[in-house]
Structures are given as structure tokens and as C-alpha cells.
Amino acid sequence: MNEIIESVKNLSIGFNSQKGKQISILRNVSTNIKKGETVGIVGESGSGKSTLALAMMGYIKQGLFPLKGECLFKSKDLLKMSSRQLEKIRGRKIAMIPQNAGQALTPNLKIGYQIDEALKLHTDLNKTERDKKISELLNKVRLPSPETMAFRYPHELSGGQQQRVAVAMALAGKPDLLLLDEPTTGLDVTTQAHVLELLRFIAKDTGTSMIYVSHDLGAIAQVSDRIVVMYAGEIVLEGPARKILKEPIHPYTYGLLKSIPKLSLAGLPASMPGSQPQPGSINEGCSFYDRCNLATDNCKKNSPDLEHIKELDTNVRCFNYRELINQNNNLQTSITKKLNNSEANEVLKLMDVSISYAKQKFFDQLLNKISDQNPTVKDINIDIKKGETIALVGESGSGKSTILKSIAGLLKTKDGQIKFENDRILSSDLKMRNPNDLRAIQLIFQNPDESLNPNHTVEQILSQPLKLYFNLSGEELKKNIIDLLKKVRLGEFYMSRYPRQLSGGEKQRVAVARAFAAKPDIILCDEVTSALDVSVQAAVLNLLQQLKEDLGTTYVFVSHDLAVVRAISDRVAVLYQGRLCEIGPSQNVYKFPSHPYTEVLLGAVLEPDPDIKPKLVAEDIVEEKPPEKGCSFQGRCPRKIGDICNLEVPPWQIGENGNAIRCHINIDELASLQQ
């Protein structure tokens, strides 16, 4: 167990800036990987974690080069090897499982060929032995019918299956060390939990060492023996997983853990101020100085060394870590938010809304109707009260974004009505809506990089809705823009900046400001925090909550992240395959009894706590189309009772606390089953 297989010594990697300055992305990183252990490397985007992981395979991305230090694999420096020598090690001794298997599998080659390629390169097996081995490997990663799977192309598999193929490919060469670069990011919650479970099984089964790189402390907590926390290209904390997650003694890790929304806690997570510094911007002092609440003058001038603390078996890079020891009992706290007054009037009503993506047949086009018997979204009835935050939750394909687009008028509904304020019907055609209705409903998109025009300054971006809806100009326009920026906590000087000059969190704030510029009644939030780092996510969530409390806006909040939804929403609607499964006040939806699908989702959530393991109750199969008859969840339901589920649409049952569940199982019975 104590044999070191790879050791990184004083590694710095950097690039030359346009001004000819040397800028480091990794600074003086040292760590050891022991045989059979799983090390989690955690950090936010830009912390250098992927660069470190790739360097451990002797791979340095184009444009970067090693400045100093070495990566010793079995005491040979990978960074000094020729590509011939590296080909012998990659895939055979150290193998990689990539972040996005969908893009990391070569599209024109069949799955079987790609695994065979690794076998041919790294083993001496002959053709028949290799074919047998391919089946074995596909079986090991629990892919259905391995024989036919080998003849499929990557695009014919679901995201989870692609990831499993990547795992099989990595295992082909029987490596001593597996590198996993965000292997579950981008997968659905239930799929993610299944893939993690598989990885844990493989680590145990084969005794392979693993390096697990992720931004997600929840995933890291599930697999790691040891955790390395990176910040701005440095290791700031390193130690046994349990210690790091339960008693973090670095202020960054402490803040990071506090900013993660947790299922068990209502209310918003505490946010950390600021964002990670850009590479090259720190010349002296601690890189965490300007975000740290323990910082002293010493921290500004001197940068702390990584200090080994014997009694905790931990390395920490902080002068003041002692203040955090014994102070960790308040990790499980959150900011309580003002509850919505549920007596308020309904502002938006969805009545029997169905939406279809089916292509119109020629005659239907003429008659302007859609004749799809099994639409993507069906029978959605939701009343949204003024000033509340209602969340739509579900995995990909659940129709949550589709509903949002329909409310915004971007997608026509097939059936049903959307009523706005005093039962006025909103046309499903955007062009038919009046300007005031358009103003009243605003959208915030998932990715601010794509929703903000890169050629416009912040001032131009914010002035567009103000000009369009309120005809402002000159001084008044400018005053309004400054007010808006102030509302989202950005200074006046941001006006002249372009989106590329802003950090991810700042961009999303501008997007929020743009939505609020229209003085809307309803804001539709489409996965608004998914593209953000955890610490920034908490800040944006807090901002949204603050704005809502001040201005009384109504949010329709779409997310796949149940913990985020728990933090922000007053009410939750759970969707599967475009059909409502459960709806109710969020504190009740997160309690049992709940719909079997909600139960599956809740069980699969990964908490940043090694003691809370996900519960895998349903298979992570992907259904392409909703079933034509019966309950939408029949295909995966762990509590299916029989034919009635296949044939009849289940009835709504109302629980004690007002959450409605659509299931054939009696609600009291569900409660006792789920105890």
C-alpha cells in the first residue's frame, strides 16, 4: 500500500504571454500517488487541476510547456521521455478516462475497434483472444449485450454508455494508474451515481491507483481516499478525504464546502466573495488573500508554504489555519431566506399544456395543427403565484427547458393555454404577443458566454432592453444602467467592458441585470448556475434571492441539480419524460413520501460527505420517448406494481402537507415503503 507509483516534484507549467512574460499555470506542485489509492484532485475551473493530471501522463497541452520540476513514474521522468517511450506507457501503465466520452471517442470508428486498438497496442493477445477480451471488458463495465455493442458507433450510445466504453478502453491495457478527468460531469444525476459506483468497484477489484480530477466535491467525496485541493495553480490543502471534507483547515476549502448547497439544508448556501485570480496576476503574497476572511498583513506580502501537520496527516498552505481547527462544526449552516407569502395571487397559469417537437405533416401544416398523439410534453398544469420561486426539476429529456421556452413564447404549444395575470391568455406565437407581455417575461440563459453578444460592451447590452421597452436615452439611460449594475453588485466601471473581460460569475450577473432591466414580473431561469463554479454559484443564487425579496419578482427556475433547487425554490415540480410526477412546497417534496422518481433522484444526489452514500434504486437506462400509455415512469420505476402502471395514467394524490404525487400506489403505502 505504501509503494509510490507516481510522484510529482516541484512541477511548474506555464506559457509565454503576448508581452513575452512567463506565466505559470501550475506553481511548484508536489504530490505522491501510492499504489492502490484513489486521490481526488479538486478545484474550480482554472485552478490547474487538469493540467496537472495530463502532466502526470507526460502530456502537456499545446502552447504550454514545463518550467521546472519533474513527473516521476516508477522513478523515470515522463516529461523528458521521447514520444516512443511515452507510447509504451500511455494506455499500458497509465490510462486516461476523459471528461466527455461523447467527444473523446473517435466518431468514425466502431466501439469494438477502439477497444481492440488499445488491446493490440498494449497486449500480446491474438485476434480471437482479443475479441473475447472486448466482450469481457464491455461486460465488466456493465454494458448491455456486449457482443452487439462492439459493432456500434459512439454516437449510437447514450452519454452514460459512452462513458462506460471509455472506462473499458482504459482498462484494456491493465494500467497501474487510472487518470479520470471529470468523468461524470455532464451526465445525469442517476447516471453519474451509477458510473461512480462502477469506478469504485473497479478500483477495489483491480487494485488500480486512481487520480480523480473534478470540480465536484460530491463526486470526489464518494471515491477518494485522499484529496488534493488546488487553487490558482497551487496545492492549498492535501490530506485524508474524511479530514478534508469534515474538518477543512484551509479557508478556501472551508468556504468552498460552505458554498455547496446541500439536500439536508433548506436555505441558501453562504457565498465566497470575489473569484479566482487570473494566472500571472499574483506577484506576491497568498493567492487567496483578497477572498480570505482570515487574511492579515502578513498574507499580503508573503506567500505561505505548504506546511505538514503531523497530527492531522495534512498539508496546508495557510498562515492562519489554526483558527479553523475546532471551528468546523458550523459547516452545516445556511442563510435562511424569507418564505414566500403563499396567499398571493396567481400570476401565471399553465393549463393542460402539451408541446410537441414532431415535424408537422404537410396537411397539418396547412391546417396549422399538430397531430402528435404522444407529445414530448403533455398535460402540464401548474399555477404560479406572484413572488414565488417555482423550480422545474428533472434529468435531461424531462421537458423542463421545453416548458420554459413555451412560456417565453419561443416554442408553440400543441394544446392547452398559458394564462398570464387575471386569466389573460398568452398567445403561443411570439409575434402575436403584445410588447408589454414580452417585457413582463424575461429569460436568463444557462451559459452567459453564449447569451451575451461578445461584440457589445456591458453598457450596450444593458441599454437594449431599456431603449426597447422604456424609450430611454441620454443621461437617464446611463443612470438606469448604473442602477442596474449596482443591483447586481457590479461597479460603474464595468460599463465599458466587453464580456470576454469578465469572469464567469460577472457575466452571469450582467445577464441577470439585463433580465431585470425590463422590470419583468416573471423571470425564467434556465440552468442559470450550471456553468458556474460552486463558490460563484452560491453568490448568484444569493443575488437572485435578494433581488426577488426586494422587487417581488416571480422566478421559474429550471435545474437538474436538486440541491440547488432545494436552496432557492419555494415550490418544486418534478418532471419525467415531459409529464409531471410530483409538485409541492419544496420542504415537502424533499421529504417522504414522494413519487418513486423523486425518490430515485434524491437517492442519486452526491453529497460532499464520505458518510452519505448514494442509493441506487433504478437502472440508469435512457428512454428516448415517453411511453404511449400509462405512467411516464413505468420503464424505470423500482416500485412498479403491475399492469395498471403500463395502462392507466396514475391519479393525483395530495399528501398531508400539500404536495401532490401522481402514482398508482396509495400515498400512505408509499410513505411506509419509503421509511
Binding site: L54, M57, Y59, Q62, S83, L86, E87, K88, I89, R90, G91, R92, A95, M96, P98, Q99, N100, Q103, A104, L105, T106, P107, N108, L109, E117, A118, L121, H122, Y153, H155, E156, A166, M169, G173
Partner: protein
């Protein structure tokens, strides 16, 4: 799949129909008719009447169109005015000559372009790339009539290695043609090759930066194996359509080059028949060139469809 191919072919036929209509209408609305333009100052009295009778211009336009179109479908383009011989006989050798010129250019140009594109992409920003890229960009910017003229000046006049203009009858054999077409081929393929090489280069560079290539490297796949198995099939696929467009676009280059070199091909026939006001021939040429254009694009579409596993299974599933 079959349905899709039939659909594409159908669309191509519709395009051709529209082209034929446009050319016919275009010819119709010109002031005067084929006889007046052809006979010029003698276009009066008995000669004009005889001509009109001979060409059947006294029947209404739509009837003439139907008549003409039904003949074209059967492969008969009617009579040319100047030679007073069947257009098919005029066209036959010209089509052959132009096909020889174009296909030799394509056979040399496409492989060369692919090789150059790959070299420049793999040695990106290194010496081979800088040299080849400079040359390709340079030859892209020179229009054919200038490069052709320069080639004649340097190779034919100063060096005296090859004939400057083609002085062979239009029914010359393939071997007679070959020594004569070297310079025209160079002139045509220069621009075409340059365009395609740039396209292949950017496509290969894009694929080289993809996740799956990084994955192949990290899997331990040797460099050249990775290039041939993982990079090229994916990089060349999108190039097929561009190649088709370039070939179609090459037709225009062929016209210009043929005139400069006095080459007896379709291109020169276009110019000749236009200046002779030989409208039936112009009509025939328009249809032929359009069919080539449509045909090449059809082939390219079908090839992409066959080679791309994504599109293939998409079609089958539907």
C-alpha cells in the same frame, strides 16, 4: 436510404428543368430571334422566311419549348445555326476534350491538395507549412487568365519547352492531346489545388485539436497510426462537399483557360457560339454545364452520406 437518393435525384431534375426554362426564356426575350441575330443584315425577305421556317420559329414559344425539351430529354439538341450540323456532332468531341482537361486537372489537383493540406496542418507554423501556405495563398490570388498568360510567357516563349497554344483539331486522339494539355492543366489546377489545400488544412487542424485525438494520444496510439485512423477520415469527410464545389467552380476556370490556350473544348465553344449568336448551341451548353454541376453535387452528397456513420444510421433509423 434509397428514398433519400431518389429524392436528391428528383431535386436535381427539378433544378435542371428550371435551368432549361430560364435559358429558354432568356433566349426568347432577347430582341429579335435566332434568325435575325444570325442573318444580321440579310435578315429580310425570303432568306429570313426560309430561316424561320427551317428553325420552326413560326410556332408559339411554349410549343417550341415543349418540342425542344422533349428532344433534349431524348438526347437531341437540334441543329446549330453556323455549321448547320446537328449540335450533338458539334458537342461530342468538345465534351470529350473538356472532360480530358478537367479530369486530368482533378486527378492531379485533388490528391495534391490533400497531401499539401495534410502536410501544412501537421507541420503547422513550421517551415513546410509556411512555405506551402505562402505558395498556395499566392496562387489563389492570381486569376487563371493571368497565370495562364504567365505560363505561356515563361514555359512556352522563354524556355520553349512546351507549345504555347493548342493547335490540334477538335477530334484529336487522347495521346495527341496529352502533350498539349500540360500547361492548361497547370493553370487550372493551381487555383483549385490551392483552395482545396487550405480547406483540408483547416479541417485537419480542427480535428487535431479535438478531444478524441487527445484521447488517442493518451491511449498510446503511435503518431502516424493516429493520423491515418483517427484524424484523416474525420477531417476529409467535410472536405468532400468543398471538393465538389471546387470542381463545379472549375468549370468556369476551364472556360477562361481554354480560350487563353485556344483549346478546342466546351469552354471555347461557349465563347464562340455566343459571339456567333448561335443560340441553339448556347442553350445546349447551358443545359450540359448545369447537369455537370448538379451531378457533381449529387455525387458529393451521396458520398458524404455513405461515409459518415452518423448520417448513415440516422437515415436508416428514419
Amino acid at each position: 436510404m434509397l428514398l433519400l437518393i431518389l429524392k436528391r435525384i428528383g431535386l436535381g431534375l427539378i433544378t435542371l428543368f428550371i435551368v432549361s426554362l430560364i435559358t429558354f426564356v432568356g433566349v426568347e426575350v432577347l430582341p429579335g430571334d435566332a434568325c435575325t441575330t444570325y442573318l444580321e443584315r440579310e435578315a429580310y425577305g425570303a432568306a429570313l422566311d426560309a430561316c424561320i421556317k427551317r428553325l420552326g420559329l413560326d410556332v408559339p414559344a411554349y410549343e417550341r419549348y415543349l418540342d425542344w425539351a422533349s428532344n433534349v430529354v431524348r438526347g437531341d439538341f437540334g441543329y446549330s445555326l453556323s455549321g448547320e450540323m446537328p449540335i450533338n456532332e458539334v458537342l461530342g468531341p468538345r465534351v470529350k476534350n473538356s472532360l480530358v482537361l478537367a479530369s486530368v486537372s482533378i486527378l492531379i489537383g485533388i490528391p495534391l491538395a490533400i497531401v499539401l493540406g495534410i502536410i501544412t496542418a501537421l507541420w503547422r507554423d513550421k517551415l513546410p507549412d509556411i512555405m506551402i501556405s505562402t505558395i498556395t495563398i499566392f496562387s489563389m490570388t492570381i486569376p487563371e487568365f493571368i497565370s495562364a498568360t504567365l505560363l505561356i510567357l515563361v514555359v512556352a516563349i522563354w524556355l520553349g519547352w512546351l507549345p504555347g497554344i493548342v493547335i490540334i483539331p477538335s477530334d484529336a486522339t487522347f495521346y495527341e492531346l496529352l502533350s498539349n494539355i500540360i500547361l492548361p492543366v497547370v493553370a487550372i489546377s493551381m487555383i483549385m489545388t490551392a483552395h482545396m489545400a487550405r480547406m483540408v488544412r483547416s479541417s485537419v487542424i480542427q480535428v487535431m485539436a479535438s478531444d478524441y485525438v487527445q484521447m488517442a494520444i493518451l491511449k498510446g496510439v503511435p503518431y502516424w497510426k493516429m493520423v491515418f485512423r483517427h484524424v484523416l477520415p474525420n477531417a476529409l469527410l467535410p472536405a468532400i462537399n468543398v471538393v465538389a464545389l471546387t470542381i463545379a467552380w472549375l468549370l468556369g476556370g476551364v472556360v477562361v483557360t481554354e480560350v487563353v490556350f485556344n483549346y478546342p473544348g466546351l469552354g471555347r465553344l461557349v465563347i464562340e457560339s455566343i459571339s456567333n449568336r448561335d443560340l441553339p448551341v448556347v442553350q445546349a451548353l447551358a443545359i450540359i454545364l448545369a447537369s455537370i454541376y448538379v451531378g457533381i453535387n449529387l455525387i458529393a452528397d451521396l458520398m458524404t452520406l455513405m461515409l459518415n456513420p452518423r448520417l448513415k444510421s440516422l437515415q436508416i433509423r428514419k
